[in-house]
Symmetry: C2
Subunit: 562 residues, 2 copies
Amino acid sequence: MELETLIRAAQEQELPELVLKNGRIVNVFTGEILQGDVAITAGMIVGVGEDYHGRKEIDLENRYVAPGFINSHVHVESSMVTPEVYSMEELRQGTTTIITDPHEIANVGGEAALKDILRAAEASPVNYYVMLPSCVPATPFEHTGAELSAEKLLPFRDEPLVPGLGEMMNTVGVLGLDASVMEKLRGFYDRIIDGHAPMLSGKSLQAYICGGIDTDHESISYEEAVEKLRCGLHVLVREGSASRNLTAIIKGVVKNKIDTSRMAFCTDDKHLADIRKKGSIRHAVKKAITLGLPPVRAIQMATINAAMIYGLQHIGAVACRYRADLVILDDLDAVTIHEVYKDGVPVSSIRQPERIQYNEALLHTVNPAPLPADAFVIPEKESYSVIGIVREQIITEHLHMTHQEVMDGLKNGTVRKIAVIERHHAAGFHACAYAANYGLHHGAVATTVAHDSHNIIVIGDNDADMFKAVEELKAIQGGYTIIADGKVVGSLPLQLGGLMSLLSADAFIPQLDDIIQKAYDAGVDPDIDPFITLSFTALPVIPHLRITDCGLFDADTFRFIP
Amino acid sequence: MELETLIRAAQEQELPELVLKNGRIVNVFTGEILQGDVAITAGMIVGVGEDYHGRKEIDLENRYVAPGFINSHVHVESSMVTPEVYSMEELRQGTTTIITDPHEIANVGGEAALKDILRAAEASPVNYYVMLPSCVPATPFEHTGAELSAEKLLPFRDEPLVPGLGEMMNTVGVLGLDASVMEKLRGFYDRIIDGHAPMLSGKSLQAYICGGIDTDHESISYEEAVEKLRCGLHVLVREGSASRNLTAIIKGVVKNKIDTSRMAFCTDDKHLADIRKKGSIRHAVKKAITLGLPPVRAIQMATINAAMIYGLQHIGAVACRYRADLVILDDLDAVTIHEVYKDGVPVSSIRQPERIQYNEALLHTVNPAPLPADAFVIPEKESYSVIGIVREQIITEHLHMTHQEVMDGLKNGTVRKIAVIERHHAAGFHACAYAANYGLHHGAVATTVAHDSHNIIVIGDNDADMFKAVEELKAIQGGYTIIADGKVVGSLPLQLGGLMSLLSADAFIPQLDDIIQKAYDAGVDPDIDPFITLSFTALPVIPHLRITDCGLFDADTFRFIP
């Protein structure tokens, strides 16, 4: 893009390539809505106002023109499709910029995965920014596919699509001055550093911020959000598939008339089907408006605010010198999308980009060591710590059950065996315990999506099907599987890192629906997401009882249970 | 400053060095005023809130705490003292950060001057940022001391105190795609580029912005300001000694309830005595509040907004991780300063920094070629174009006078000779013409401050005193002088580049007052600033008639008058 081209087109010395006529244009700078045309050349807006003429002209018939939306924090892996496919889904729903943290795939593939993601980002039809994962591995209590030290991250620091360092989940490490954490914070001190500080408050919160933290997306209440704002954090209001914090926060914002100029919207984790149904940021904007936030302020949060927070230039406004990333709306309050433009091109003309050539190693990441015959044998004890699965939650209960209670549970179907098996480097680590209240009449359910280290998690009522499940996941090189009586009931391959499907969205969504249905058919409790709930049972930083490839883990005391 | 030190102090694992107790703290993030303490260590705020304890504690007795003010655009040379001296004056009035454009000294000394200014910036007691002068020389119609091409500017681009490129005054060059202008714009496209677009509007304004312009400080009306805001420019509201635009703009802002989050305050040019009397940004904040802007919003404009516009980190808020640059106010509406802290140190404890060792060449910049005996002889003509000096303005009139009228004017004191003499490289250029309505009974007045090329300007009623004035300015190596009957009536040396005094503020201000009084005593019209008005008569970009070392110049047609 040549400056000269834009300056000439702005003066109509050469006619702009495209003029969108007669719009009601949301001005995110002044908070006004102004009648006018939008002139576009070389993918950039070169003029906004009255009486523009272009080589091509489209009459907007008084529709609203908003800047393309920005999803300020998202883990694309949660969609279980590749970045290329995910981008298109977001784009169709008006999101033209996403700020991602490839934390999951980095845990599997390390630097090689980062390189691939950056190539995918470049090839993406949206503006695809990549925050460098700060916590790989997330904890020292498990074995992961890779480790990203400061030394390994710093070479990516000045990549053009990298605004900074991804969410620093290790709050304990920051407050405790952990040397490797400090090294990362120092290395990115003058860049954006995303925070992750659920419930952190007062002096601890401010000490954490002193480490160089700029944002937080973990607030679940208005009070939590406003304290973080006051301390200088930019608050990313999260409305994802699992965590939905928008209502609580925006209600308080509206009631207390708090300044929103340092707030944005994000999804964190959102499923593809949910995006397809309602959109991601579009949905957040609409919901915020419903709660009483003036539409223009909701749009500011969804656009220019996010761009300012992350220092993204030429993004987030309908104004000259900004990218022609636009959402044309039929209705402002309902955020009904008429058309989306990316760099001046209507989304209907944008084809799904070809999948990039991923590093071959990333397609072969399921390498568990051969399991011994007693891998799922749990030594008999008087009583056991049992993982209690909780409906509609990712927290678990720490149950204490007698031997008899467990035996009864195994019989009546309330107790199952659960195991985690290291799967990255055939390192041979594995652990097995009891889990309650998952459901499942018979057989085994297993996944290679297992936050955050993504080992294999398998749950079942008999060892043979559990072995078979591990075998199947190795055979398909990652994904979901359901086994019964030694047979594969269903499998969903997620071959990219064992996390993402190589399918298109259209092919993937029915397959996902299908295997979820099969899990429910196999008896999984209908109030539990059969695979997502399972994949969080290995996350040692969420209360209360967890299992990693190193053993049963008390997430309250941060100790393994012998 | 070690991250570890801050994090420990924030948790009071080591007591903060200083705690300011019981303040009413302006929170620029949320727009609230909150009761609390401010804890400070290593010059940084490590905590804000209740119940902090420090090694030293000061009771604020419920006074207001605001962030230190930011002057978002200033030419320090206009103060006629060195950056070190200027900084202290600003600091005492609550300005802890200045964003400067050393355009004047760069016109004299080029890269060497830039290097010195950057060293002075580092030594300054305020946060002293330097925008690189984009227009040296300002026009091709005169001879200047130096030329700064893109090639010469780019090595300074990544200096830590350089946010970007200084005001691009060459709007014609931007719109006309001048190659050397384009090269500069391209070189700084991803950095901040200050604009200078008086009265530019509509498609021309947007074409100019397409060149990469981020700010403008030239708006003189609300309508002009709001159009620029709508186009995405950050508007710096100017309240200086000469140009005072705040009332017009802020009145409109208040009336129209326009969003101020992309606006800041600046002085552009402000005299030392004015700063000493009322402050710079402090004065702007106070005036804006008087006009009805809520105090917190005025303070946001004076602090965090400016920091965001220029991408300055850790500046502009009273919050952890920000520099402890604070203004303690007795009264919020009147902006009455009780104390100023810079990096946690009260200004009363900060000593005027030693003057840096300026490049010797910058102290010897007045090198006119020997003048021929007829240098001030104006060939007799039937009629003349005469520069009409206008009271209280820097614009001039283009008068047409007959020979007889000029002769009469010379006799009755309404007409004088005015000359500009190249003084940088003994290049030998000089021009002489007639000027009307300056006053001056007898003798000559001269200055080496002559925007923007800073040649010598001399005005007088006889050639001998004019020669003597040039001789005197060479002898003192720059400054102001008044001559009568071959004798020096008064001289004010401005030895740094012929623009700035090497004196302290206390020594300088009375000397300046003295020579201005002497000029009035010599008969200069009391409604004209004897030296400042004179120094603008050589600026070819201001209407209507000007004189440069190349000749009499019609600033309306951009042509020399033969």
